[in-house]
């Protein structure tokens, strides 16, 4: 153990909260900032590092501990925040030029809750512009690199948060997952990423992309650490009408008798044989410990990408109408209001955002809405029913998270549809509103991480995370630090 940053989060926080312990929040923040300085020139996970603010917050927390005050379960733990979540006083860019200079006046609910639990915001992380992408290449500020191979992408859209945790710069990070944007980068960076049940976590202060699908989720090195962050941020919020309470978690199930669904349509879905083999090894380890395999068919999962790429763009075309150069962000001046809107939006949005806004505008337009948007929504309903029926026959579904490991920077940049197909194994959980997590499932022969995805029925986030912990125990596979992280203390 070379650094206190590498401790489990619960232990780190308990030591900081203990006034007699020598470990202080300030030490953790200093160690995290030192790693950012040493590594982030190459990884480029952060768009903004809150060096001074993080130090001040750590000192304030240490002073509270010294006075004998109680501090929360994340006391002193450095937290990286995806830059589509508001942190009061820090720039919020969504990796877009159109927000140029915007500084939000208040914290997102998840940020306020994590801070109330003792977390220290280290900074804001890079993303695909407005969370639209699967590689973090669609950022107005340049791509983030995968800490396991700097020539490759970290996945996306929450690639900065995933890379920050994988490189050891922050033990915890927040991302958002609309079609896989937490799970896929977690898989490509060899860490844990969880997409909570729709409604479990408030989106107030998250810049909306597709409101019927968006959910904020945690990144961590272990499922226990991810659960600690989820505990801090979950729960109803009067500022998000879709947020609600879920019944208390059922006790962590042992593997004995656990019914593991294996979906015919998702097996090897256009994927890499090394990924299929890694997921097969996870499955075999679960079965060897007493779980049973339940073969399933989800025929409509094949419609997941077509449904997602109609519903999400339709909602984004509506949500992004607010960026009009009037109330915040950048403006391209014009003598009349219509050209002002249209020039501001042409100059401010990147190519992928424009593509999705146009696609969504088309899918909602007069003459086409019935055949595209309404049809997609009807298929979404059928898909929810199909998945609910599957969860009457199994406790969890096990699949790959991404069909392939991290690809090279630029490899898919010229072909938007091939980028969309990265999400083939993740969009279904968003469309159905169910929880799903990606957990480490080992490395390829070339040393690239592979993720296994666990899904469960609505509300069963704790089952997903406890089975994730069991996967680690059964396989011995978990987060391993990339070579770059070993260069620094």
């Amino acid at each position: 153990m070379t650094s206190p940053l590498d401790l489990p989060v619960a232990e780190m926080a308990a030591r900081v909260a203990d006034r007699h312990d020598s470990l202080k929040a300030a030490d953790l923040v200093d160690a995290a900032l030192a790693r950012v300085r040493a590594l982030d020139g190459r990884v480029r996970a952060f768009l903004h590092v809150a060096e001074e603010g993080a130090r001040r917050a750590a000192e304030a927390l240490d002073a509270r501990v010294a006075r004998g005050e109680a501090v929360g379960p994340l006391a002193g733990v450095p937290l990286a925040v995806k830059d589509n979540l508001a942190v009061a006083g820090m720039p919020l860019t969504c990796a877009s030029k159109i927000l140029g200079g915007y500084v939000p006046p208040r914290d997102a609910t998840v940020v306020a809750r994590a801070v109330a639990a003792g977390a220290i915001v280290l900074g804001k992380t890079n993303l695909d512009e407005f969370a639209m992408g699967s590689s973090t290449e669609n950022s107005a500020f340049g791509p983030t690199r995968n800490p396991f191979d700097l020539e490759r992408v970290p996945g996306g859209s929450s690639g900065g948060s995933a890379a920050a945790v994988a490189a050891g710069m922050a033990p915890l990070a927040l991302g958002s997952d609309t079609g896989g944007s937490v799970r896929q980068p977690a898989a490509l960076c060899g860490i844990v990423g969880h997409k909570p049940t729709y409604g479990r976590v408030s989106r107030s202060g998250l810049v909306a992309f597709a409101s019927s699908l968006d959910q904020v989720g945690p990144f961590a090195r272990t499922t226990q650490d991810a659960a600690a962050l989820l505990r801090a941020i979950e729960g109803p919020d009067p500022l998000d009408a879709t947020s609600r309470a879920f019944p208390a978690a059922r006790p962590a199930a042992g593997l004995s008798g656990l019914r593991v669904g294996v979906v015919e349509e998702l097996e090897g879905a256009g994927g890499d044989p090394e990924v299929a083999a890694a997921v097969g090894r996870v499955r075999a380890a679960l079965l060897a410990r007493g779980a049973t395999a339940v073969p399933l068919s989800l025929p409509l999962s094949k419609a997941g990408i077509p449904v997602y790429y109609l519903v999400a763009p339709a909602e984004c075309s509506s949500n992004l109408a607010r960026f009009d150069g009037m109330r915040y962000g950048a403006r391209v001046d014009a003598p009349e209001v219509e050209p002002l809107y249209a020039r501001t939006r042409d100059a401010g949005f990147g190519a992928e955002v424009k593509r999705r806004v146009l696609l969504g505008t088309f899918a909602l337009s007069a003459g086409y809405a019935d055949a595209y948007y309404k049809r997609a929504m009807a298929v979404k309903t059928r898909l929810r029913v199909e998945l609910a029926a599957a969860f009457s026959r199994c406790d969890v579904i096990l699949s790959a998270t991404s069909p392939f490991p991290a690809f090279r920077v630029g490899e898919k940049a010229g072909d938007p549809l091939s980028m969309y197909l990265c999400d083939v194994l993740t969009v279904t959980a968003n469309l159905a509103g169910v929880p799903a997590a990606s957990v480490p499932a080992g490395l390829t022969a070339g040393g690239l991480p592979v993720g296994a995805q666990l899904w469960a029925a609505e509300g069963h986030d704790d089952l997903v995370l406890s089975v994730g912990a069991a996967v680690r125990e059964a396989t011995g596979l978990g987060y391993v630090a990339p070579a770059i992280a070993k260069e620094v203390a």
Binding site: I305, Y309, A321, D346, F362, A378, P416
Partner: protein, 96 residues
Amino acid sequence: MHVTETLVRHVARLARIELSDGEVAAMVPQLDRILGHVEAVANVDVADADPASADAVPSAALRPDVAAPSLERRVVLRNAPATDQVFFLAPKVLED
């Protein structure tokens, strides 16, 4: 559905994005390929599915209608590209 330049220009106008000619030309084959893929939704039998019920969440209880302080004007205006300290400034939309 065959995507044409005319369709892209029509949709861009609806979306209030002033695309350059080069952007329009690039967008035509891209949207054509994407639409060709997502049109697969037409092949799914949805006879018994209600599009409205795709809404994932049972309607949440409304919160009490209690007045609460809102942001101060100067805080809101601080992020705006053009203001006169009281209002957002925009080009004139009505004739004198």
